[in-house]
């Protein structure tokens, strides 16, 4: 049967349902268009900022490189100096640095009981470190003295003044282990030496110090001349502490 009539009541309900969905869809589409536009704007701004930053940094790099063109030689020299100097410092740690330790022993040998030569702790420390007012080496005078060396046959063993003790044996290694033997032919000086090495002024420079031996000998030459001369020989062994000039200064 042909449809000749339209039931508007039923079609209106169906149409209203569909119209509702299209209404929602329309707003979603508008929303998406806005999102699309914002995304485009965001990307555009981001890229523009990044390009500007890249240009700025590139220009800065270019100007810095131009300023450094003529300084390559100086730069190479500074790097070379730093590296070689660090190497030198590393090698310097292998050194025994004997001067303060040797000075300590020489100071000990020159002690006497009249209190004239016993200095204050500060003076002893300065003597040990070899700090004196006139630090400059007198090379001209030394070269003149060189010619006198052969005739003097100078050694460290005996000094011209027999009252002072002499350092007969002296061994020192880079671990600061020391062995030394001192000889005195004067009992008073020998006792002064022993008093000094027992004092804190001397012992504070040692980690440990022990007596290795003691000898008392009579000089045959003096016996033949009719009077006795005694030699007092004392051997010690120990280990120095590390003495730094910087700590004292």
């Amino acid at each position: 049967m042909k449809k000749t009539k339209i039931n508007l009541l039923v079609n209106k309900q169906d149409y209203q349902k569909v119209e509702k969905y299209f209404y929602i869809l329309r707003y979603i589409t508008i929303f998406l268009i806005i999102i699309f536009a914002l995304s485009l704007a965001y990307v555009f701004i981001q890229l523009r900022n990044q390009n500007a930053k890249i240009n700025t940094l590139s220009n800065k790099k270019k100007s810095l490189l131009e300023s450094l063109i003529n300084k390559e030689e100086d730069e190479a020299k500074i790097i070379f100096i730093n590296n070689k100097f660090n190497t030198l410092k590393k090698f310097e740690e292998e050194d025994v640095k004997a001067l303060p330790y040797y000075n300590l022993l020489i100071t000990a040998l020159s002690q006497n009981s009249t209190n004239e030569d016993i200095g204050t702790s500060e003076q002893i420390e300065k003597d040990i470190l070899g700090i004196s007012e006139n630090e400059s080496t007198k090379s001209a005078d030394i070269s003149e003295d060189n010619s006198k060396l052969a005739t003097e046959s100078a050694t460290i063993k005996k000094s011209s003044k027999f009252e002072l003790g002499s350092l007969e044996i002296f061994k020192l290694d880079k671990e600061r282990n020391v062995e030394f033997t001192v000889t005195f032919n004067n009992l008073t000086r020998f006792i002064d030496f022993i008093s000094f090495i027992e004092s804190n002024k001397f012992l504070k420079y040692f980690e440990h110090l022990t007596i290795n031996g003691f000898n008392l000998t009579h000089s045959t030459k003096s016996q033949s001349l009719g009077f006795e001369k005694e030699n007092y020989k004392l051997s010690l062994k120990g280990k120095f502490i590390k003495i730094n000039e910087e700590e004292i200064n």
Binding site: F36, E75, I78, F80, I81, D95, T137, L149, A154, T155
Partner: protein, 243 residues
């Protein structure tokens, strides 16, 4: 219509984000690398243009030479002998003999045993200045004074070498303390840069204008004199000899 438009818009948004995020990440990497490079160059520029570097610019060359002398790149036995002789002269401590300790030698170190004589003063001078005064960097490994050496002092000393560093990859650091110590070392070794001097040539010598003549002309100083030159250039006439 709206459905198709919405789908297209969704795809476009996703595509934009995916594609541009890649570009943005690449740009961020580029920016961070550039920032590091700029910082590195700024650091170099700051050091090389600092007042300290500018004031010590003339000293740089001498410090390089001093360090090359003290610790050369390769070992040179002549410099060892020369430094021991120099040290001996400067301090008064007479070094009488030396021998190489092959067992203690390493790639960068040569160990030498020396025997020396000297009174207390000279030995003290030696101990104060042995590190640098000879012109080579010297360390002492141990000291021995015993009666078996008959009054001589035996010292085991070491000389060092170190090959050059790769300067391109080494960091640039300004160590002011190093420069201060080097200026003290420079004073100790009295290092002097000798400028190349050409020996003076004496131009006042006898000359012959005719290389085949027997007579020599009297000494004349060289100078521009065209008249004399042309006259002296004429060959001298020798008398004909009858055969």
């Amino acid at each position: 219509m709206f459905i198709i438009t919405s789908i297209i818009l969704i795809f476009l948004i996703i595509f934009i984000h995916l594609y541009n995020s890649q570009i943005i990440n690449e740009n961020n990497l580029k920016i961070s690398e550039l920032e590091k490079e700029v910082q590195k160059y700024e650091n170099r520029s700051r050091i090389l243009n600092s007042p300290f570097t500018q004031s010590n610019k003339e000293e740089l060359e001498s410090y390089v030479q001093i360090l090359n002398l003290l610790i050369p790149n390769t070992e040179d036995f002549f410099s060892i002998i020369y430094s021991l002789e120099t040290l001996s002269k400067k301090t008064g401590f007479n070094i009488s003999s030396y021998k190489v300790n092959l067992k203690k030698n390493t790639k960068n170190k040569i160990s030498i045993s020396i025997l020396g004589t000297g009174n207390q003063e000279y030995f003290m001078n030696f101990l104060k200045s042995y590190n640098f005064a000879g012109g080579r960097f010297i360390t002492i490994d141990n000291i021995e004074l015993t009666p078996q050496f008959s009054g001589l002092i035996k010292l085991d000393v070491s000389f060092y070498t170190k090959s050059s560093v790769d300067i391109k990859n080494a960091p640039l650091v300004l160590n002011q303390k190093a420069f201060d110590e080097l200026s003290k070392i420079k004073n100790k070794i009295n290092f002097q840069l000798m400028e190349n001097q050409e020996p003076e040539i004496d131009t006042n010598y006898t000359k012959k204008s005719n290389p085949f003549s027997i007579k020599t002309e009297p000494q004349t100083t060289l100078g521009p004199s065209p008249i004399n030159a042309t006259e002296s250039a004429k060959p001298t006439e020798e008398p004909e000899k009858d055969l």
